[in-house]
Symmetry: D2
Subunit: 385 residues, 4 copies
């Protein structure tokens, strides 16, 4: 029996890995549990622990660590508090493997804790490159340096990991498991969707906005988001707006959302939409606006044009469905209009191939984990040069 | 006025950086303080905080974090507790730069804390390679991924950092500042040394033993060190033995030392020897045994042959003065005897060039720090590929 | 020079002690600094650190500890994180005395930390009794058991402390220093106040509502507060509503406030009103509603009738200006109407004597602290029986 | 099924409660687990976790918290780190009751954590009085203020708790459960004991020394213990010496023990002796020296004379078998000689009644816990005045 703990601090990464977790949970030879931390446990961020429990997963521990502040210091104190807490879980359960995803606090704190304790770390989404000077990049690369297994979404990412000195036999290109659910999620029509949301999107084009705060720009959050909101309002389209993650600056963004939503009935705010609903919201959307990785990683599978605003995601390999703009109403408006009305552009995106996977990632990942032999060779990492 | 905080958790790294700290402290335009943590604050490890205070440095804060256990979990819990504590110091003092050295807990916890808070991290001794599968490697490379300035001791290390994607303009080859003190430390003769130590080393060859525990081998510590001690006893030489660092497994090593020292009067244990004495102990020694980085980095400047026992330091570039052996009495004894009696070998080492520096590192480092412009460009890191 | 650190985690206790702090800061023989923590550092609670800085006090350290959750576990994790953080401050500054007030997390964590470190703890507002089964009671009494000096507001409180076994010479009845500012704060008329608040209260009776969440009832917060809001709306009066403290359940209260405020223009929400304005708001108010200790401790000095809703404050000695009600709209409405229209009752309250002090507390407290001899006798506590 | 967690940080309190734990573990309606922390997890203090595991108890969690320092700050940092760690265990297991004993860090940290989380706290050995000005007193009384059930060893202690305002129905006089094992532990003769210990105590009088460091006197530890050791050496008797607890100052004591033991073969050091052996060591001893609570609480059941050295235990109610002395060789020697050779005194002690229990405490305690109804009434504490 192989014991695996998945550590998750945010709805987004839980959703990305959901297809893998579901498959692992069905295997008799895998004992999976989930260590829930970060934004999952905060009412402000929708207390998404509830979803994980409803999905039927075993909870390894709940680690309440999110420090209530808008300042940069908050994230790193929260990270620090996770380490002894995770160590307490790991020494009790003695997992064979811990899994983490991405480039947030949980990724690095989990990887450090497990690596020091001699536990195999499986890291998802390493090797990605975003040229935005953000702390996330440092976190992602550093996490790779502690990880023993790398599940990447693209050959270019695997290549980055090899250049970082990671041994080739530790690196697997498996694609993005989030795409699996696009194949699996049943289609809802706009009428059903409108009823479920209690917001009418049966008619016309609508936009979806997902914008996260950037720690290095958190003081400008309030100004920047207004540039986007003004452009959206100017289109006259309905827009479904998803709450941001728990980064420094997100309070300002939420405040702006609430203020605009009160003034403009075309705007509809939601938080932690149920997965099936959210995928269908994207399916019928005319354009995704903001700076979510959704636009890069998942939108191509839906043939969805994306307007990426600001520095986040810049420099990341994309399928050709993304227009990058500054925090500038005019630029944003132009990009949205191109996405909505430039028919040649829309057509080119419609059947684009998603470079990040084919919807069959979960089975590849699960097979690798199932067959993994846990021995000294896996634990003892060396740099290849 | 540029505010700099040096974070240190062990006597060894404090000594390595001492020449830099002393020079920084003399500059009117630099406000230097030292954040003291880890083994410096433990009576078990000689409470070396006292030396730092005696050397006249300003103490930024004292962070008591070392968890009292011999298990692997101890180091990572200790690391976790440092992060909120360091954040508390950094938000109070708002340093322009924090400096850390090497690959221990303090290195990564400092680098993470500062990087998240948008403070420039200057890291010493990055890019080094040890092919021992130890956690220290992961820590060292991960620290580099958070650092904004890299002070390396060798062009080959700078090359590793570039391959890790670090931007070339952040990397400086400055040599090992620990070598500076060899030029500066007055020579004591064997008589004076014997008096100071209260142990007679006026006659014949004597050895120095410095062996640190290895986290991945901590259960074997007790067995491994006995192999070395048996070899040393068999030489009949006097041997000065330095206490190990605060790693898992060090209790077993200390216990073996005390047991052997009680039996064999040729063995002499010491802890945290005063710097001038220690350098002179090395100057007159016939051979350095163990697994300290001293053998690789500093012994060449003294023309000192080294027997490196076990996996630590293996794969690190050395000047040709090091014989590597397993934990095996026969091998170790043979290597010590070659170091003592193979005259051609001894001669070749006598005037060897130390590839790690020329004794003028501190001034290079201080100049770079003095001239450093702290702006967004320094803070915003990008990977070069 | 006597070094004193005041530890504060909430605006309320800072305001209560403000007159003392101001006086201490003016003395040459006292070196006062303030350790700021808890809600002071949260944007959600108005980031009142800013006020402390503006008031010109030296900040000893900023301890970000508030865990972002609405569950009961949040408060105690926050408390735990304060202890090592406070210890870090105390060992750096080596205060002669630390001061804390009341019965919140900061009180007990400060008292424990200082008592273990052999530092004198001066505790304000001990010996008070509230018969509500709340954790605050346990915290208050336990804090007294760690404290070396007790500054109480009423002889009955001093009596409780003596019965708890506290040595009489450690107990001082000094009154509530918050009352000092009533004498000192200049009077603003309703016109000036309306202009400052940007809310018109020039005409008619207005109410003030201050309701804090109760940890043991936090699940009912949303329901309970609506009972009060319905009663207030039914009076037709304007009502100024102050945000609650950072206790579990406060999110529900805030949400209800925002919802009602959107519907009823007679309601006006404010957060961390500037002190002079707030005192004048109370001066002209017709009735204070809620469960704030203001009603018990300070309202008598203003001749202000109070309607105390729910279990908080119940059992506390009061001047006769308080009507206690359940969470019940009918009861609350009746009590407000009695407070507004029962002229005999209003008259009886007008010139009531405040049993909690005469407005000259700060000078008494400062004199005691100034003359305090810090020796082993102060530190070594014994129970009197 | 009632879920109970016992929190323990030291061998001594585990032993005191062992008879209760064993009985609870046998009940089908009780789900008992043990949260192991503090000195139990330190190799320095004999890693007594191993005993708990061998005794067959379920481990709830292991909380590594002991900070490696000899300074006073160490204990309170260790205490602080326990709170979030305990909260993590409690929110996972949702115990009905947590049990703690005595007046050490674990007692107060457990009581605070559970009380804030609305979990019933059962506290053992509250209400005891020691007039030594030590922090332990403050900890013990403060723990009582958070506890919901008090298991006391003596009516006088119950009386103290009532005077502290604790409600009478929460207080139970059950005696000291450590005495139960005296009835249950089989008798070993001196020959068997000598064989087991590998130290010959078949002939003549022997002493037992158990001396713990006192935090407020930790700087004098080294001097004080030498006064005792000199007296013991002067008696010419064999002496079995038990290691001290993990308090500040204990390193100095251990060092002195090792130094004297090397010089005087009549001294025999042991650490964490197996329970049956230790009880038999006490059974045959001529006199117990030191400052352990054993002398007060348990020695009367064995008719054992005690010399209590220094301030610890002073003022505690005792059966008449204890002579109190200062840290003074002459006084200590005289008291030991009286204990050994004053036949009237020895006779008076032989069949003394132990005021702290009759050896049937565990069954009383277990019955109370079994019948306890967990409801709001138990949780909501009020002071009785």
């Amino acid at each position: 029996m192989k014991k695996i703990i998945f550590v998750t601090g945010a709805r987004s990464e839980y959703d990305l890995l959901y297809s893998v977790l579901k498959k692992l949970n069905q295997l008799a030879e895998i004992d999976l549990s989930i260590l829930v931390t970060g934004a999952h446990l905060s009412e402000q961020f929708g207390k998404t622990l509830v979803h994980i429990e409803q999905d039927g997963f075993k909870i390894a521990d709940k680690v309440y660590n999110l420090v209530d502040t808008n300042e940069k210091i908050g994230r790193v104190i929260s990270l620090g508090h996770q380490i002894p807490a995770f160590a307490q879980t790991f020494i009790r359960l003695k997992p064979d493997v811990v899994m983490v995803a991405g480039d947030r606090e949980e990724a690095i704190s989990t990887a450090i804790t497990a690596a020091y304790m001699g536990i195999v770390v499986a890291h998802f989404f390493g090797g990605d490159i975003a040229k935005d000077g953000n702390i996330d990049n440092s976190v992602r690369y550093a996490t790779s340096k502690f990880a023993h297994l790398h599940f990447t979404t693209h050959p270019a990412h695997a290549d980055v990991l090899r250049r970082l000195g990671e041994e080739p036999e530790r690196i697997f290109v498996v694609g993005n498991p989030a795409l699996d659910r696009f194949l699996e999620t049943p289609v809802l029509d706009r009428q059903a969707l409108s009823t479920a949301l209690q917001f009418d999107i049966t008619q016309g084009n609508y936009l979806v906005l997902v914008q996260h705060a950037i720690i290095t720009e958190y003081a400008q959050s309030a100004v920047n988001i207004r540039q986007t909101l003004d452009a959206i309002v100017a289109t006259g389209c309905n827009c479904l707006i998803n709450y941001p993650n728990s980064d420094a600056g997100n309070y300002e963004i939420i405040k702006a959302y609430q203020e605009y939503a009160q003034k403009y009935p075309q705007l509809f705010l939601f938080q932690n939409l149920e997965r099936t609903l959210f995928i269908n919201v994207l399916r019928h959307a005319a354009c995704l606006v903001g700076n979510s990785s959704l636009g890069i990683l998942e939108a191509p599978s839906l043939g969805l044009p994306v307007v990426n605003v600001g520095s986040r995601q810049r420099g990341r390999l994309n399928a050709g469905n993304v227009i990058f703009t500054d925090y500038d109403t005019t630029q944003i408006l132009a990009a949205i209009q191109q996405s909505l009305f430039d028919m040649a552009y829309r057509q080119s995106i419609k059947n684009i191939v998603n470079p990040y996977g084919d919807g069959h990632s979960a089975e590849k990942i699960v097979t690798i984990l199932k067959n993994l032999v846990i021995d000294e060779k896996v634990i003892y990492k060396n740099i290849t040069y």
